[in-house]
């Protein structure tokens, strides 16, 4: 029965859902960071000429999805599902954008973890033969997130040193059942984890335990070690969060080396006054769909574990003094390579037999 599953929470895609196209779009501040040359499109205006930031966020998502379709020369009629989410209440940016595309839409909310969640679900749909092509896309906007989760933009207050900066940006990946290209090989779904952090500014500390739970689970399920990956990248733990994450992983017996990085920490350079770095659903999405996938195409990385992390809080729960439950989903993306794929298959088979026998 569980032939496509490893251990408790990892699923394996035998039919290799391929990455057919990817596209990223960011705002001005993000473009001043170190990854400027990798982004596909840089917005001149955070409002996109619209009347409100919410409309702008929708516009960014729509343009990103269209960009991914154009870039990969994908026939729009072949697309079966659009899968995505964002940070706003009732995920209005994604669902409102989806009405223009007139395609079956699967709206997800995993806060900042939505990118890896949508990739995992999109890959599963293709692997199971339920779809030929799916679009997985997420978006976030600094100004909409700020007004929903924090305070009015013009309010004169000081950001605490543990805070992060919501990224204005979006990323879209088109997965397909075609024969060649980089592919999603497995996904590990995370558990909701809560270590009792109540400070809504300190997202890194809240999300790090969720990330470590998922990664440990992934290593147990697959019998892999951190060294088996060229790059392990978390979504938006930020500088503090990723330090905590390293400590937590070491505590569990997995020492992360130089192959570990964090999108939130990567996207802004130090002098940009963002304190712990970037956050938001668009943070991991834009870095994955620019730098990481481009470097995979270039052959720099062969096997990447992409794990976006999300804090599942709302303004109400924060005001009521509740702790912050968090989640992290991991997907493994592999580069098409004759030798290494064989090796992957071998490592996948062994634990599968063991688990099903007991």
């Amino acid at each position: 029965m569980k032939s496509n599953r490893l251990g408790n929470s990892t699923i394996v895609f035998k039919n290799k859902p391929r990455i057919e196209s990817y596209y990223s779009m960011v705002g001005q501040k993000e473009a001043k960071g170190p990854f400027k040359k990798y982004f596909d499109y840089i917005l001149n205006d955070d409002l996109c000429g619209k009347k409100s930031f919410e409309l702008a966020e929708r516009e960014i998502l729509e343009r990103t999805i269209i960009g991914a379709i154009d870039k990969g020369h994908v026939d729009f009629n072949e697309i079966d599902f659009i899968i995505g989410g964002d940070l706003l209440n009732q995920i209005i940016s994604s669902s409102f954008s989806a009405r223009h595309f007139e395609k079956p839409f699967i709206g997800l909310y995993g806060a900042c973890s939505t990118m890896s969640e949508s990739l995992a679900i999109g890959a599963a749909l293709i692997d199971g033969g339920y779809a030929n092509k799916t679009i997985c896309a997420t978006v976030s906007h600094f100004s909409t997130a700020e007004r929903q989760y924090r305070t009015p933009l013009e309010l004169g207050n000081q950001r605490p040193p543990v805070s992060q900066w919501t990224v204005t940006g979006a990323g879209a990946t088109i997965l397909s059942n075609s024969a060649k290209g980089n592919y999603v090989s497995m996904a590990t779904f995370g558990k909701v984890t809560d270590y009792g952090v109540t400070d809504a500014n300190n997202m890194g500390a809240a999300m790090a335990p969720a990330a470590s739970e998922t990664l440990v689970e992934h290593f147990l399920d697959t019998k892999r070690r951190p060294e088996d990956y060229d790059l392990i990248v978390t979504g938006d733990l930020g500088k503090l969060g990723s330090e905590i994450f390293r400590d937590l992983m070491e505590h569990r017996g997995y020492k992360l080396g130089g192959n570990y990085s964090d999108c939130g920490q990567m996207i802004f350079s130090r002098d940009q006054r963002t304190f712990q770095g970037g956050s938001g659903a668009g943070c991991s999405a834009s870095i994955l769909n620019s730098y990481i996938l481009k470097q995979m195409d270039a052959g720099k990385f062969n096997r990447v574990l992409f794990m976006a992390t999300g804090a599942l809080l709302s303004t109400l729960s924060t005001q009521q003094g509740e702790t912050i439950p968090c989640i992290a989903h991991a997907v493994v993306i592999e580069r098409e390579q004759e030798k290494s794929t064989e090796k992957v298959n071998n490592t996948q088979k062994k634990p599968k037999i063991k688990r099903s026998s007991n």
């Binding site: 705002g27 001005q28 501040k29 955070d46 409002l47 930031f53 600094f142 100004s143 700020e146 007004r147 305070t151 009015p152 933009l153 013009e154 309010l155 004169g156 207050n157 000081q158 605490p160 204005t168 400070d199 940009q272 006054r273």
Partner: protein, 121 residues
């Protein structure tokens, strides 16, 4: 003249300094800080201490929100002594009406003209 301004600067500066210490030590948000200092002003005027601070610091003691609280308390005390029981209700807001009304009116027109902007740093 110069001495007056030095006193104003010191009084206002020290009040803000206390506020900043509270912000960094207790992670209070600005709304809580405002409420706390305003209530402090009401209390200090209520027990009759704050007048000495105002005599010393002038605008340094009246411009901070703590002075807003002081005006409230002062208004209530005055109205209670002249109008009796009704003064409890009328005194406070009447005395601070200028500040509240100015904030509301200017905000109203400013908001009609300007939009909030994305922040870059």
């Amino acid at each position: 003249m110069l001495l007056t301004y030095l006193k104003v600067f010191l009084t206002g500066g020290i009040i803000c300094l206390i506020g900043q210490i509270l912000i960094t030590k207790t992670k209070m948000t600005s709304a809580r800080i405002l409420v706390l200092f305003m209530c402090l002003g009401v209390f200090l005027e209520g027990v009759g201490i704050y007048q000495y601070v105002v005599d010393f610091g002038k605008a340094g003691a009246t411009v901070p929100i703590i002075g807003f609280g002081r005006t409230l308390a002062k208004g209530v005390i005055k109205d209670v002594s002249t109008k009796g029981f009704l003064g409890i209700f009328t005194g406070g807001l009447a005395a601070t009406a200028a500040g509240i009304a100015a904030s509301v009116i200017f905000s109203f027109f400013v908001a009609l003209i300007f939009h909030s902007k994305t922040k870059h740093s």
